[in-house]
Protein backbone atom coordinates (compact mmCIF):
# COMPACT_ATOMS: atom_id res chain seq x y z
CA UNK A 1 0.00 0.00 0.00
CA UNK A 2 2.85 2.37 0.84
CA UNK A 3 4.08 2.11 -2.80
CA UNK A 4 1.19 4.30 -3.73
CA UNK A 5 2.08 7.11 -1.36
CA UNK A 6 4.90 8.61 -3.46
CA UNK A 7 3.05 8.83 -6.77
CA UNK A 8 -0.02 10.22 -5.06
CA UNK A 9 2.14 12.86 -3.37
CA UNK A 10 3.80 13.77 -6.69
CA UNK A 11 0.43 13.95 -8.36
CA UNK A 12 -0.96 16.28 -5.72
CA UNK A 13 2.04 18.61 -5.86
CA UNK A 14 1.98 18.66 -9.63
CA UNK A 15 -1.71 19.49 -9.85
CA UNK A 16 -1.57 22.33 -7.39
CA UNK A 17 1.65 23.88 -8.70
CA UNK A 18 0.88 27.05 -10.60
CA UNK A 19 3.04 28.67 -13.25
CA UNK A 20 5.86 30.73 -11.74
CA UNK A 21 4.57 34.27 -11.63
CA UNK A 22 6.82 37.21 -12.17
CA UNK A 23 8.15 39.86 -9.92
CA UNK A 24 7.56 43.09 -11.80
CA UNK A 25 10.72 44.04 -13.62
CA UNK A 26 12.19 46.00 -16.50
CA UNK A 27 13.11 44.41 -19.80
CA UNK A 28 16.69 45.02 -20.87
CA UNK A 29 16.79 45.77 -24.59
CA UNK A 30 19.23 43.64 -26.54
CA UNK A 31 20.17 46.20 -29.19
CA UNK A 32 20.09 49.38 -27.04
CA UNK A 33 19.56 51.91 -29.83
CA UNK A 34 20.16 55.62 -29.28
CA UNK A 35 16.97 57.32 -28.18
CA UNK A 36 15.31 59.51 -30.80
CA UNK A 37 16.06 63.16 -29.99
CA UNK A 38 13.21 65.51 -29.12
CA UNK A 39 12.48 69.04 -28.06
CA UNK A 40 9.18 69.54 -26.24
CA UNK A 41 7.52 72.20 -24.10
CA UNK A 42 7.07 71.62 -20.39
CA UNK A 43 4.09 72.77 -18.33
CA UNK A 44 5.76 76.14 -17.72
CA UNK A 45 6.29 76.83 -21.40
CA UNK A 46 10.02 76.04 -21.39
CA UNK A 47 11.66 74.08 -24.18
CA UNK A 48 13.22 70.84 -22.98
CA UNK A 49 15.60 68.77 -25.10
CA UNK A 50 16.44 65.14 -24.49
CA UNK A 51 20.12 66.02 -24.93
CA UNK A 52 19.86 68.20 -21.79
CA UNK A 53 20.02 64.98 -19.78
CA UNK A 54 23.02 63.28 -21.36
CA UNK A 55 25.39 61.91 -18.75
CA UNK A 56 22.71 60.59 -16.38
CA UNK A 57 20.13 57.80 -16.46
CA UNK A 58 16.75 59.14 -17.59
CA UNK A 59 13.37 57.54 -16.92
CA UNK A 60 10.95 58.58 -19.68
CA UNK A 61 7.30 57.71 -19.24
CA UNK A 62 4.75 58.14 -22.05
CA UNK A 63 1.24 58.57 -20.67
CA UNK A 64 -2.20 60.15 -20.95
CA UNK A 65 -4.68 61.25 -18.29
CA UNK A 66 -7.46 58.95 -19.58
CA UNK A 67 -5.26 55.83 -19.45
CA UNK A 68 -6.09 53.75 -16.31
CA UNK A 69 -2.70 52.02 -15.89
CA UNK A 70 -0.96 55.39 -16.37
CA UNK A 71 -3.00 56.80 -13.51
CA UNK A 72 -2.25 53.72 -11.44
CA UNK A 73 1.52 53.96 -11.78
CA UNK A 74 1.97 57.75 -11.51
CA UNK A 75 1.89 57.88 -7.69
CA UNK A 76 4.64 55.25 -7.54
CA UNK A 77 6.66 57.22 -10.10
CA UNK A 78 6.30 60.29 -7.95
CA UNK A 79 7.49 58.36 -4.91
CA UNK A 80 10.40 56.96 -6.94
CA UNK A 81 11.29 60.52 -7.97
CA UNK A 82 11.70 61.53 -4.32
CA UNK A 83 14.10 58.59 -3.91
CA UNK A 84 16.28 59.26 -6.97
CA UNK A 85 16.16 63.00 -7.65
CA UNK A 86 19.29 63.66 -5.57
CA UNK A 87 21.12 60.67 -7.01
CA UNK A 88 21.87 61.92 -10.51
CA UNK A 89 18.80 60.46 -12.22
CA UNK A 90 16.32 62.41 -14.39
CA UNK A 91 12.64 61.59 -14.81
CA UNK A 92 10.29 62.86 -17.52
CA UNK A 93 6.60 62.22 -18.14
CA UNK A 94 5.65 62.85 -21.76
CA UNK A 95 1.92 63.34 -22.13
CA UNK A 96 0.48 62.18 -25.44
CA UNK A 97 -2.11 64.29 -27.24
CA UNK A 98 -3.55 66.44 -24.44
CA UNK A 99 -3.40 70.14 -23.61
CA UNK A 100 -2.03 71.95 -20.56
CA UNK A 101 -5.46 72.60 -19.11
CA UNK A 102 -6.42 68.92 -19.09
CA UNK A 103 -3.11 67.92 -17.54
CA UNK A 104 -3.20 70.73 -15.02
CA UNK A 105 -6.65 69.64 -13.78
CA UNK A 106 -5.48 66.04 -13.63
CA UNK A 107 -2.45 66.99 -11.53
CA UNK A 108 -4.72 68.36 -8.83
CA UNK A 109 -5.66 64.72 -8.10
CA UNK A 110 -2.40 63.10 -9.17
CA UNK A 111 0.50 65.34 -8.14
CA UNK A 112 3.56 64.98 -10.39
CA UNK A 113 6.69 66.62 -9.05
CA UNK A 114 8.97 65.67 -11.92
CA UNK A 115 8.97 67.29 -15.36
CA UNK A 116 5.89 66.85 -17.53
CA UNK A 117 6.39 67.44 -21.26
CA UNK A 118 3.71 67.90 -23.90
CA UNK A 119 3.58 65.87 -27.12
CA UNK A 120 0.27 67.30 -28.26
CA UNK A 121 0.63 66.30 -31.89
CA UNK A 122 1.76 62.76 -31.04
CA UNK A 123 4.76 63.20 -33.34
CA UNK A 124 7.36 62.17 -30.75
CA UNK A 125 5.53 59.10 -29.44
CA UNK A 126 5.15 57.94 -33.06
CA UNK A 127 8.93 58.10 -33.57
CA UNK A 128 9.71 56.00 -30.52
CA UNK A 129 9.18 52.20 -30.43
CA UNK A 130 5.89 52.41 -28.57
CA UNK A 131 2.64 50.53 -29.17
CA UNK A 132 0.57 51.39 -26.10
CA UNK A 133 0.36 53.64 -23.04
CA UNK A 134 1.95 53.66 -20.61
CA UNK A 135 5.35 52.70 -21.92
CA UNK A 136 8.46 53.72 -20.04
CA UNK A 137 12.09 53.64 -21.10
CA UNK A 138 15.15 53.98 -18.95
CA UNK A 139 18.02 55.55 -20.85
CA UNK A 140 21.61 55.01 -19.86
CA UNK A 141 23.95 58.03 -19.46
CA UNK A 142 24.94 57.68 -23.15
CA UNK A 143 21.34 58.25 -24.20
CA UNK A 144 20.64 54.67 -25.28
CA UNK A 145 17.35 52.86 -24.67
CA UNK A 146 18.49 50.42 -22.00
CA UNK A 147 15.35 49.19 -20.22
CA UNK A 148 11.71 49.15 -21.25
CA UNK A 149 8.50 48.62 -19.31
CA UNK A 150 5.28 48.07 -21.22
CA UNK A 151 2.38 48.82 -18.90
CA UNK A 152 2.60 50.20 -15.40
CA UNK A 153 5.08 49.25 -12.71
CA UNK A 154 5.60 49.98 -9.04
CA UNK A 155 8.44 52.36 -9.73
CA UNK A 156 9.38 52.94 -6.11
CA UNK A 157 10.15 49.24 -5.53
CA UNK A 158 13.70 48.58 -4.35
CA UNK A 159 14.37 46.27 -7.29
CA UNK A 160 13.44 48.79 -9.98
CA UNK A 161 15.29 51.67 -8.33
CA UNK A 162 18.34 49.45 -8.00
CA UNK A 163 18.20 48.66 -11.73
CA UNK A 164 18.05 52.37 -12.60
CA UNK A 165 20.81 53.45 -10.22
CA UNK A 166 23.08 50.68 -11.49
CA UNK A 167 23.17 52.46 -14.88
CA UNK A 168 25.21 55.25 -13.33
CA UNK A 169 28.24 52.98 -13.03
Amino acid sequence: MRYYKLPIFILMISFISLPALAEESLTELTDKPLAKAFELMDMDGNKVKLSDFLGKPVIINFWATWCPPCRAELPSMNRAWTKVKDKGVAMLAINVGEDEETIFSFMADYPIEFKVLLDQTGDIVSQWPIKGLPTTFVLDPQGRLFYRAIGGREWDSEELIKQVLALKK
Partner: protein, 195 residues
Protein backbone atom coordinates in the same frame (compact mmCIF):
# COMPACT_ATOMS: atom_id res chain seq x y z
CA UNK B 1 8.88 -2.35 -12.20
CA UNK B 2 5.19 -2.07 -11.63
CA UNK B 3 5.88 0.65 -9.11
CA UNK B 4 7.72 2.82 -11.71
CA UNK B 5 5.02 2.25 -14.25
CA UNK B 6 2.45 3.56 -11.82
CA UNK B 7 4.60 6.60 -11.04
CA UNK B 8 5.02 7.29 -14.76
CA UNK B 9 1.35 6.91 -15.47
CA UNK B 10 0.54 9.44 -12.80
CA UNK B 11 3.28 11.96 -13.58
CA UNK B 12 2.74 12.23 -17.35
CA UNK B 13 -0.88 13.36 -17.20
CA UNK B 14 -0.07 15.76 -14.39
CA UNK B 15 2.67 17.39 -16.49
CA UNK B 16 0.24 17.67 -19.39
CA UNK B 17 -2.26 19.24 -17.03
CA UNK B 18 0.22 21.94 -16.06
CA UNK B 19 1.71 22.59 -19.48
CA UNK B 20 -1.19 22.22 -21.82
CA UNK B 21 -4.54 22.01 -20.17
CA UNK B 22 -3.96 24.65 -17.54
CA UNK B 23 -6.12 27.34 -19.12
CA UNK B 24 -9.00 28.80 -17.23
CA UNK B 25 -11.79 31.04 -18.47
CA UNK B 26 -13.89 32.82 -15.88
CA UNK B 27 -17.00 34.88 -16.47
CA UNK B 28 -18.06 37.60 -14.09
CA UNK B 29 -20.84 40.15 -13.79
CA UNK B 30 -19.98 43.30 -11.88
CA UNK B 31 -22.60 43.57 -9.12
CA UNK B 32 -22.74 47.37 -9.39
CA UNK B 33 -22.44 48.13 -13.10
CA UNK B 34 -23.85 44.77 -14.32
CA UNK B 35 -21.11 44.80 -16.95
CA UNK B 36 -19.82 41.37 -17.90
CA UNK B 37 -16.21 40.32 -18.22
CA UNK B 38 -14.35 37.22 -19.34
CA UNK B 39 -10.89 36.37 -18.10
CA UNK B 40 -8.57 33.80 -19.65
CA UNK B 41 -5.54 32.60 -17.71
CA UNK B 42 -2.98 30.26 -19.16
CA UNK B 43 0.46 29.57 -17.71
CA UNK B 44 1.12 33.12 -16.56
CA UNK B 45 -0.64 34.89 -19.43
CA UNK B 46 -3.82 36.78 -18.55
CA UNK B 47 -6.29 38.17 -21.02
CA UNK B 48 -9.37 39.97 -19.79
CA UNK B 49 -12.23 41.27 -21.92
CA UNK B 50 -14.64 43.68 -20.27
CA UNK B 51 -17.86 45.07 -21.71
CA UNK B 52 -18.22 48.82 -22.17
CA UNK B 53 -21.59 50.46 -22.40
CA UNK B 54 -22.19 52.26 -25.71
CA UNK B 55 -22.79 55.40 -23.67
CA UNK B 56 -19.45 55.01 -21.89
CA UNK B 57 -17.51 54.82 -25.15
CA UNK B 58 -19.61 57.53 -26.77
CA UNK B 59 -18.84 59.92 -23.90
CA UNK B 60 -15.15 58.98 -23.90
CA UNK B 61 -14.67 59.75 -27.58
CA UNK B 62 -16.87 62.86 -27.60
CA UNK B 63 -14.67 64.15 -24.79
CA UNK B 64 -11.67 63.71 -27.05
CA UNK B 65 -12.87 65.68 -30.03
CA UNK B 66 -15.10 63.26 -31.96
CA UNK B 67 -18.42 64.52 -33.30
CA UNK B 68 -21.48 63.03 -31.64
CA UNK B 69 -22.25 61.07 -34.84
CA UNK B 70 -18.85 59.38 -35.05
CA UNK B 71 -18.66 58.82 -31.28
CA UNK B 72 -22.09 57.18 -31.51
CA UNK B 73 -20.90 54.90 -34.35
CA UNK B 74 -17.93 53.80 -32.25
CA UNK B 75 -19.99 53.39 -29.07
CA UNK B 76 -22.51 51.14 -30.80
CA UNK B 77 -19.88 48.90 -32.41
CA UNK B 78 -19.59 46.58 -29.38
CA UNK B 79 -16.54 47.94 -27.62
CA UNK B 80 -14.66 45.73 -25.17
CA UNK B 81 -11.82 46.79 -22.91
CA UNK B 82 -8.94 44.36 -23.29
CA UNK B 83 -6.30 43.88 -20.62
CA UNK B 84 -3.39 41.64 -21.56
CA UNK B 85 -0.57 40.72 -19.21
CA UNK B 86 2.47 38.47 -19.44
CA UNK B 87 3.17 37.46 -15.86
CA UNK B 88 5.56 34.66 -16.71
CA UNK B 89 8.78 34.52 -14.79
CA UNK B 90 11.28 37.09 -16.06
CA UNK B 91 14.12 34.62 -16.36
CA UNK B 92 12.33 31.57 -17.71
CA UNK B 93 9.20 32.91 -19.38
CA UNK B 94 8.88 33.65 -23.08
CA UNK B 95 7.47 36.78 -24.67
CA UNK B 96 4.02 36.58 -26.24
CA UNK B 97 2.73 38.46 -29.28
CA UNK B 98 -0.90 39.40 -29.75
CA UNK B 99 -2.05 40.12 -33.31
CA UNK B 100 -5.63 41.29 -33.36
CA UNK B 101 -6.00 40.48 -37.04
CA UNK B 102 -5.93 36.80 -35.99
CA UNK B 103 -8.81 37.13 -33.54
CA UNK B 104 -12.15 35.87 -34.77
CA UNK B 105 -15.76 36.48 -33.89
CA UNK B 106 -18.48 33.91 -34.52
CA UNK B 107 -21.85 35.60 -34.84
CA UNK B 108 -24.80 33.38 -35.76
CA UNK B 109 -23.21 31.12 -38.40
CA UNK B 110 -20.72 33.64 -39.67
CA UNK B 111 -17.07 34.07 -38.69
CA UNK B 112 -15.46 37.48 -39.05
CA UNK B 113 -12.48 39.46 -37.79
CA UNK B 114 -12.77 42.33 -35.35
CA UNK B 115 -12.79 45.92 -36.64
CA UNK B 116 -9.20 47.13 -36.34
CA UNK B 117 -8.18 50.69 -35.54
CA UNK B 118 -6.65 51.04 -39.01
CA UNK B 119 -10.02 50.24 -40.57
CA UNK B 120 -11.77 52.85 -38.45
CA UNK B 121 -9.13 55.44 -39.32
CA UNK B 122 -9.45 54.75 -43.04
CA UNK B 123 -13.25 55.08 -42.81
CA UNK B 124 -13.08 58.67 -41.57
CA UNK B 125 -12.64 61.58 -43.91
CA UNK B 126 -10.17 64.34 -42.98
CA UNK B 127 -13.03 66.75 -42.23
CA UNK B 128 -14.96 64.24 -40.18
CA UNK B 129 -12.30 63.49 -37.53
CA UNK B 130 -9.52 65.92 -36.62
CA UNK B 131 -5.93 65.01 -35.78
CA UNK B 132 -6.31 65.33 -32.00
CA UNK B 133 -9.24 62.91 -32.01
CA UNK B 134 -7.32 60.44 -34.19
CA UNK B 135 -4.39 60.56 -31.74
CA UNK B 136 -6.74 59.80 -28.84
CA UNK B 137 -8.34 56.95 -30.77
CA UNK B 138 -4.99 55.47 -31.73
CA UNK B 139 -3.70 55.38 -28.16
CA UNK B 140 -6.96 54.44 -26.44
CA UNK B 141 -7.45 51.36 -28.61
CA UNK B 142 -5.53 48.13 -28.18
CA UNK B 143 -2.51 47.85 -30.52
CA UNK B 144 -3.12 45.73 -33.60
CA UNK B 145 0.13 43.92 -32.87
CA UNK B 146 2.10 44.02 -29.64
CA UNK B 147 4.73 41.87 -27.95
CA UNK B 148 4.66 41.47 -24.18
CA UNK B 149 7.86 40.42 -22.47
CA UNK B 150 7.69 38.15 -19.45
CA UNK B 151 8.10 39.81 -16.08
CA UNK B 152 4.92 41.86 -16.03
CA UNK B 153 4.44 43.66 -19.36
CA UNK B 154 0.82 44.56 -19.84
CA UNK B 155 -1.47 46.86 -21.74
CA UNK B 156 -5.05 48.05 -21.76
CA UNK B 157 -7.04 49.21 -24.73
CA UNK B 158 -10.41 49.06 -26.42
CA UNK B 159 -11.31 46.78 -29.30
CA UNK B 160 -14.33 46.97 -31.54
CA UNK B 161 -16.14 43.72 -32.24
CA UNK B 162 -18.20 45.30 -35.01
CA UNK B 163 -21.58 43.95 -33.83
CA UNK B 164 -24.64 45.69 -32.40
CA UNK B 165 -25.62 46.22 -28.75
CA UNK B 166 -27.23 43.04 -27.40
CA UNK B 167 -25.70 40.71 -30.03
CA UNK B 168 -24.47 37.35 -28.72
CA UNK B 169 -21.24 35.92 -30.09
CA UNK B 170 -18.31 33.57 -29.50
CA UNK B 171 -14.80 34.84 -29.84
CA UNK B 172 -11.49 33.20 -30.64
CA UNK B 173 -8.57 34.97 -29.01
CA UNK B 174 -4.97 33.96 -29.53
CA UNK B 175 -1.35 34.88 -29.11
CA UNK B 176 1.94 33.57 -30.38
CA UNK B 177 4.47 32.11 -28.02
CA UNK B 178 7.66 30.45 -29.16
CA UNK B 179 6.40 30.57 -32.79
CA UNK B 180 3.29 28.62 -31.82
CA UNK B 181 -0.16 30.14 -31.88
CA UNK B 182 -2.32 29.43 -28.85
CA UNK B 183 -6.03 29.64 -29.63
CA UNK B 184 -8.94 29.76 -27.23
CA UNK B 185 -12.65 30.18 -27.85
CA UNK B 186 -14.62 32.20 -25.36
CA UNK B 187 -18.28 31.35 -25.75
CA UNK B 188 -21.56 33.07 -24.90
CA UNK B 189 -20.28 36.62 -25.00
CA UNK B 190 -22.64 39.53 -25.42
CA UNK B 191 -22.33 43.15 -26.52
CA UNK B 192 -23.42 45.56 -23.79
CA UNK B 193 -26.57 47.63 -24.28
CA UNK B 194 -27.24 50.99 -22.68
CA UNK B 195 -29.24 50.60 -19.49
Amino acid sequence: MRRYAIIGLLIIPSILWNKVIWAKITHQIDPETKLQSWKLEDNGVELELIQRLPDQSRAFFQGRGFSSQVADDIGKSCILQVIARNNKDKNNGLPITIQLQNWQVKFQDHIQGIKLKETWDADWSLNEVNKAARIAFRWATFPTEQTFDSGGDYNWGMISIGLNPGDHFNMQVNWTEDKKQRNYWINDMICASDL
